[in-house]
Symmetry: C2
Subunit: 395 residues, 2 copies
């Protein structure tokens, strides 16, 4: 039979992330490709205790729940938001199956074919896939290490009248940069001026290496919650298997997203939501986040020292101030997709940077993840990677 799919499926892109997972599963390959947190420090005992409390609370815990999410969890998220300078209330918090579902539900209620979304370049590729799957076109705004260029942002807002601007301002995926406070405020000011929404994707801000630096979420400047949808997740600070994220922002938008979520899956796992609530009550998550920071900083530093061996001038990178990734730019004549094939043969993997680009991809970039591999594996994998990088001919 010839299956006649909806026309929008033509915009679905072959799944790079799944291809990456396939690489990971090859026996001897040490993968710096995926965006996986460190398994070896997962707080499994605390997670286990949290689930025990759910079952101890009785059979009612196993019944259907509300689409908006488990109310005590939303209360706890509100408190977490306050500590980030975002003042909201539980009625304006929707629990989602990870922040991926926020990106999807928000796109679903906002986007129609022909609409425009403005983004950074490079940016999170699975977000690009979602926007395009609804028929939207993505337009990249120029930027530098401090964030989007306000002049270009203004020009593109005026030219394209975008539905929203999508940004990861704190320890971006893939390039790890953190926006300056000034750029955050300039973006919001322009969005106020032209009435454009912002989708602020903030999975990594808890993983901050230098505590003397301060990064306020863009949403914290949007005091009345009129223009910014802020999404984050417990996948990085607790464990990914919980698949629990949330979104807060304008009530009217959240109401529409809640209707979409009801049609999409009724609600996210309520056992997981209840367990997460107990975990937030009983477990010192702030102490655990400190542990994550120090472990990731150590691993990032290890990787950095290996990269330093490659020699100056050939490959360049900026030391990330947080997050999970180092973004590397090589000499202009190389194609890191070709390099990856060679690397996998030698037992190490990274993600070629091309697919994160909206405009012309820089074929000479790649992303490595420093959170997932233990120091032993980092040594082994980085030895292999340095071998490959140093053998790249200087043209």
């Amino acid at each position: 039979m010839n299956y006649s799919f909806a026309p929008l499926t033509k915009n679905y892109e072959s799944s790079a992330v799944r291809d990456i997972l396939a690489v990971i599963q090859q026996g001897n390959v040490i993968s710096f490709a995926g965006g996986l947190p460190a398994e070896d420090i997962f707080p499994i005992d605390a997670v286990k205790s949290a689930y025990e409390k759910v079952f101890a609370s009785g059979k009612g815990s196993l019944q259907y729940g509300a689409t908006e999410g488990f109310k005590p969890l939303r209360d706890a998220i509100q408190e977490k938001m306050e500590r980030k300078g975002i003042f909201t209330n539980p009625d304006k918090i929707l629990v989602t199956t990870g922040s991926q579902q926020t990106i999807d539900l928000f796109s679903r209620v906002m986007l129609a074919p022909g609409d425009i979304v403005l983004t950074e370049d490079p940016t999170y590729l699975a977000a690009l896939q979602v926007f395009r799957s609804y028929g939207a076109s993505v337009v990249a705004v120029k930027g530098d290490e401090h964030g989007m260029n306000p002049e270009d942002l203004k020009a593109k807002i005026e030219q394209y009248k975008p539905k929203f601007v999508y940004v990861i301002p704190t320890f971006s995926n893939p390039d790890g940069k953190a926006w300056s406070a000034e750029r955050r405020q300039q973006l919001l000011k322009l969005c106020y001026q032209f009435d454009v929404l912002v989708l602020e994707d903030d999975p990594y801000s808890d993983i901050q290496f230098h505590q003397d630096e301060v990064y306020h979420p863009i949403a914290s400047y949007d005091k009345e919650q009129t223009h910014v949808l802020y999404t984050s997740t417990f996948s990085k600070s607790v464990v990914p298997a919980l698949r629990t994220g949330w979104v807060t922002g304008p009530a009217e938008v959240l109401e529409m997203m809640t209707q979409a979520k009801q049609m999409n899956d009724l609600h996210s796992s309520s056992i997981d939501q209840q367990a997460l609530y107990h975990l937030l009550c009983d477990f010192d998550l702030e102490a655990h986040i400190k542990l994550i920071r120090s472990v990731y900083y150590e691993r990032m530093t290890m990787m950095k020292e290996y990269l330093n061996q490659v020699g100056p001038g050939l490959f360049s990178w900026k030391e990330p101030k947080g997050g999970m990734f180092i973004w590397v730019e090589g000499p202009k004549h190389i194609d890191t997709t070709v390099l990856l094939a060679e690397a996998v043969k030698k037992g190490v993997a990274f993600v070629p940077g091309a697919q994160f680009y909206v405009n012309e991809p820089k074929l000479n970039t790649f992303r490595i993840n420093f959170s997932h591999s233990t120091p032993d594996k980092i040594k082994l994998g980085m030895d292999r990677l340095v071998d490959i990088l140093t053998s790249v001919p200087v043209v």
Copy 2:
């Protein structure tokens, strides 16, 4: 700010299910409205043990998982499918966040504005909401207690060239009917003839009261898995809070749905999926399903006896052969939405039938759920309901 939502959001319907949940939460109301399973027989000890096994399996259990679902769970689902006469393989099983997500993902990859979906009338209202949210129009096929009328189905396939036919052939929601084997085969034959897909929604077939009767899923007749997408869930046979369902069918359609799911939420909770796998290994689910059947049969019988008190001729219903609902039709002059307001005042709730209809709603119908309330509550609630029904004036 004036939020400019996507045009398709105009098709979102105010959420009847959430309104129902709001009614349930009013203190003294005994609700026969929702479609909730019996909490008092939830296998909480088995569920608890299953989660313990997940945590005992190590920290890897808390990492990100595959979009398709946890492989050992898909293997177990394949065996379950075989027992229903559906021969598939784990590569053609996608785990979803309940069968609601199957309905949504399938609609997302198939439907564009202007497309037609054929359904029974009445049918599951949250499915109607999904189809319409993608801009499709729903056309009802005539039917009776044995299933869709094949002549009308053929005529409507020829007239409307539908994208698919949506059916709940075994203990339908809302009217509890079970299709005859003949009607199931006639539907599939027509779908083969005109190359139309079938979405077979089968959440209730395990809850079958009379074991001498046999209901083969329509998918079991689709030997090559070319035309039928079959979806079911563990929400009714285990517990709803797990939010775990699945879909099997044509590989090409599942591949597209998997891409959509990856954009939608990356994957469903893998802790829950692993727990469910352990539960299926260690717990006698078949024995538990037998318990569910006998408890639900007893409750249905209690309710039936109360309804018998209302007196012949005024209200009529068919005794369901399984599932969770009794569908009641009253005298033509009544409007059960008006009656509900009165019922809630007296402390009992049901769902007015109107919203389940595609064509002209029968305002004189309502649905009551027999699974959720304990015998004590059934007595109290049905006393109240019988009072209300017997006071309806005969015109």
